[in-house]
Symmetry: C2
Subunit: 317 residues, 2 copies
């Protein structure tokens, strides 16, 4: 164990991401104390039972007091309220960060409420499972995953470096970019895939009864992969779509144009157009394998991360 | 080992499915001899090098001669040509089957060419990976997977039972239904998910250069799961869409209507509609887990099947 990077770490919100940060920070000895806050009494009780922190509170202002690093781990739609609540009790020099999947909106929501003298470094660890709640967390969640930091220009470099060191210490690869660029890239790599998965599972759920039962029975043929994505936390994802509206609508427009063109090819029996696309997409898969972002083994490289939380799905909030 | 179910098994086509059938039939001692045919000299040489059969041929008529069970394992668009080629040499009493992902079209293509006195029992094993070619096969591919048989009314019951016994012996669960019902169910559980995956990977591939590189870099956020599906065999999937056109267009229409409605909800900031759908889709995932069609561990339950072919992606045809 090395010297802790921070004194008190306060986690506002203790779902999958918050609890995983707590477990990882503790395992690597990165902080001397962990303070946990959530507004749900039931969730706080689970956090206590799991021993995730050192002190616990239902009050964000109370929890944020004397903290050196505060990481807001709530659905992005709750960011402004949290910023308002914690602002009065922030210690000068503290680093305020978050884990939201959308960055421009979080900056817009939180920035106006934060006092001078603190360092605001928004972050997005690209890691997760379809499970949610404090029981779903595990210390290895961020290993070999990206964590994107989106500090405003002029943010204290030492603060950015210190937060980057924290994320690297729990296994993440850190990248810095603007909130706008982040939101565009994530719209196509994450938000649209989730929207489509939710949508097709919904379409299947609306099928006539005799087909619906068989959709479940024969789900192994492709559909099943979508149901896993479409089992992700509803509140978190509702907020993502509402708060990354422009980029999502832009990408959705492109997706729909392309799909309409495929539909036309099928209707006209134009096999060449289909074959050309299907060959091109195979090359993208090859690029992802070459970039080390997945393994050829068809378990999505998730096996190491899966240990210890394979039985928690029923606890999903 | 029990007494073999069949004398000579002939496989027309030796890709992922054909080679897996060969390996599984041999392992379980289900046939006394395996004859392999493919029209590609290069593929036939791989099959010989892998020792998948007992006799090998580039000529379908030659390979089909004296066979007791013939399984056609070619892209569905090649079904009619194969039927024409093998028809003259079929032995009376032989069972002719296939493995196509579309059934009505296969029946329409093959039936008119097959002589009286043989038993035509179309089949679709719902199993596969994104890998293709004879190197991709493995004996466990069909274990605990469904195999759907779609015999015409009036087909000899003993022949259907014997083919069902073959599939059960290599680990599959057998179900019998009409070709039309099969095609509708598979359109929503398999064909549309594949089409959507191909489409979104194509949309991403068409992004501006600076975004495209980052799509690969940050693919772990959801997109990666789609690239695996979109790496499936282009010829096979082109044929599926061309030959299950009606059901695919019908389901695509429903999908697009639903997606348009979601798009509208995002544009109007209607969080309730999004939340309601995202909650409903989570329940479907639960049903699939309850039905034993997947495990909660996020590796898609594929780990056992993955052994022995994790390094073959580069060999994909």
């Amino acid at each position: 164990m090395t010297e802790p990077l921070f004194g008190r770490l306060t986690l506002i919100g203790i779902g999958l991401i918050g609890s995983s940060i707590a477990l990882a920070a503790k395992r690597h000895g990165l902080v001397s104390e962990i303070s946990i806050q959530t507004r749900s009494k039931k969730t706080l009780e689970r956090a206590i039972a799991l021993g995730l922190g050192d002190t616990y509170s239902l009050d964000p202002a109370e929890a944020a007091k004397v903290a050196d690093l505060i990481i807001v781990c709530v659905p992005v739609g709750a960011s402004e309220e949290v910023a308002q609540q914690i602002a009065p009790s922030l210690k000068p020099g503290a680093i305020i960060s978050d884990v939201g999947s959308v960055k421009s909106s979080v900056v817009q929501q939180m920035r106006p409420h934060l006092p001078n003298g603190i360092h605001f470094v928004p972050a997005h660890p690209i890691a997760g499972t379809e499970h949610s709640g404090p029981d779903a967390g595990f210390a290895e969640l961020f290993e070999n995953r990206w964590c994107i930091l989106t500090p405003e220009e002029g943010t204290d470099k030492a603060a950015v470096d210190k937060l980057a060191a924290f994320w690297r210490a729990i296994g993440a690869n850190v990248e810095v970019m603007s909130p706008e660029h982040h939101d565009l890239v994530l719209a196509i790599t994450s938000h649209i895939p989730h929207l489509i998965a939710y949508n097709i599972v919904g379409t299947a759920a609306d099928m006539e009864e005799n087909v619906r039962q068989e959709v479940i029975k024969f789900s192994a043929s492709g559909f099943r992969d979508f149901t896993r994505i479409a089992a992700s936390d509803p509140t978190m994802w509702r907020d993502i779509f509402l708060h990354n509206k422009d980029a999502v609508l832009e990408m959705l427009g492109r997706f729909t144009e392309d799909l309409t063109s495929l539909q036309r090819a099928i209707r006209r029996g134009d096999g060449d157009t289909l074959f050309e696309l299907f060959t091109r997409t195979r090359a993208i898969r090859r690029n992802i394998l070459d970039a080390g972002q997945d393994t050829a083994v068809p378990d999505f490289g998730r096996t190491p991360a899966a240990k210890g939380h394979g039985t928690t799905e029923k606890n999903g909030a």
